[in-house]
Symmetry: C2
Subunit: 275 residues, 2 copies
Amino acid sequence: MSLWFTEKQTSSFGITAKVNRTLESENTDFQQLDMVETQEFGNMLLLDGMVMTTEKDEFVYHEMIAHVPLFTHPSPKNVLVVGGGDGGTIREVLKHSSVEKVTQVEIDGKVVEYSKKHLPHISCEYGNPRVELIIGDGFEHIIKSENRYDIILVDSTEPVGPAAGLFTKGFYAGIAKALKKDGIFVAQTDNPWFKADLIKNAIQDTKEIFPIARLYTCNIPTYPSGMWTFTMGSKVYDPLKVSIDKIFDINGKYYTPELHYASFVLPKFLQSLCK
Amino acid sequence: MSLWFTEKQTSSFGITAKVNRTLESENTDFQQLDMVETQEFGNMLLLDGMVMTTEKDEFVYHEMIAHVPLFTHPSPKNVLVVGGGDGGTIREVLKHSSVEKVTQVEIDGKVVEYSKKHLPHISCEYGNPRVELIIGDGFEHIIKSENRYDIILVDSTEPVGPAAGLFTKGFYAGIAKALKKDGIFVAQTDNPWFKADLIKNAIQDTKEIFPIARLYTCNIPTYPSGMWTFTMGSKVYDPLKVSIDKIFDINGKYYTPELHYASFVLPKFLQSLCK
């Protein structure tokens, strides 16, 4: 028997991947959680039928959500990660020795549990004394935080299901309050081919609250359209004015000093979404 | 009935698209040719079951294969396009008023015929007096050309089927001979996630023959992995040394003056393929 998993990324387009076996599945308190072993991408974590991460291409997302803002800030000490239960984002954040503490607020403890078991190279930093893992609601955590974080990374699922409260203007305002006076946030904001409105709203909302608002992109084969965007809001530091000499080797496979800047250079159709 | 087309981009991964209807299909002298109307991407041209072009995302490929080399050359007059039967590449080439003649050698006249009928916004420049369309073998045309072209664009299918003769070192040597002493070629060279060896060979072969050999990328949602590469070989002109003032507005949707340079900035894993 040949098993194929298909994710409908829109109502009329999707990806399909050969599945060797299902490693574990359950309906958690928040979402449908599946861990499958694929032929092409290794172990793959799915939430509500959408690919969240795979062993083969996870490095792109995790390096790009973390290092672009962390190198933009001259000395990030306190970092908050909302979501990101697979652990890949905190793994990258911890490569910055200036970071004293990463607080992670993941709503679904099962995602962490499954990732520890089936994605050991991604979840490898759970247990690091610099990491505080809170199983809870990221929005609530942000609302009660004030002037606390240098960096906030919103490593959430799509704005459906448990992440529906994210991607709203109130959320961005809450982030601004939770950040220190020179803080930076980055949120994953989906792809421009099928979710143009989401990006348009995210960048507009960010512009209204942060003096510096920028979009940057990367290529992730298992995500819709292969092009992924991140929205950055920064109170003081401009990612394009970072001195290249400050960017040390993070020993990664995607992010490079030159790509730090180039990832902000947008195709014309995407530029027009940001106006 | 709900019809879905699936392209297996590797033996264990692919894309799937809802098809409203098949517009036309036939087994030509060279390949299986299908034109389908998809819900998400409009009309879609398939060769041997692989997506060649779609109405929604064709602009990326065509702008990027054409404008990067044409702006690298200070005054391109004679341009050769190998393949590219849908017409999108010549459409972009003709935006450069310095171009006196585009010669296109497409092996399969049926591709041109279907594109004229079903992809009118892509094939719109057939009939332009600056275009000479030759239905024939691109390799043979190159072999008998000497010191003739300013630019050669290899807009071929994958290196299977009729395009198997392309992507060889002999082909690149032939291209060098067919080019003028300051000529430039660009070939589409697939994606780095599933075809790393193809890229590695293409860039190595190019380096052995051309003083300037570089890879650049773009995002195409319907192509494998969403990241596409082009290999450029240039005898004299460096694409990274083009003065940005020389790049005029091509009235496109992807290529911009800034992206001209940024498209050469490669992720680390792709850089290592080019060493």
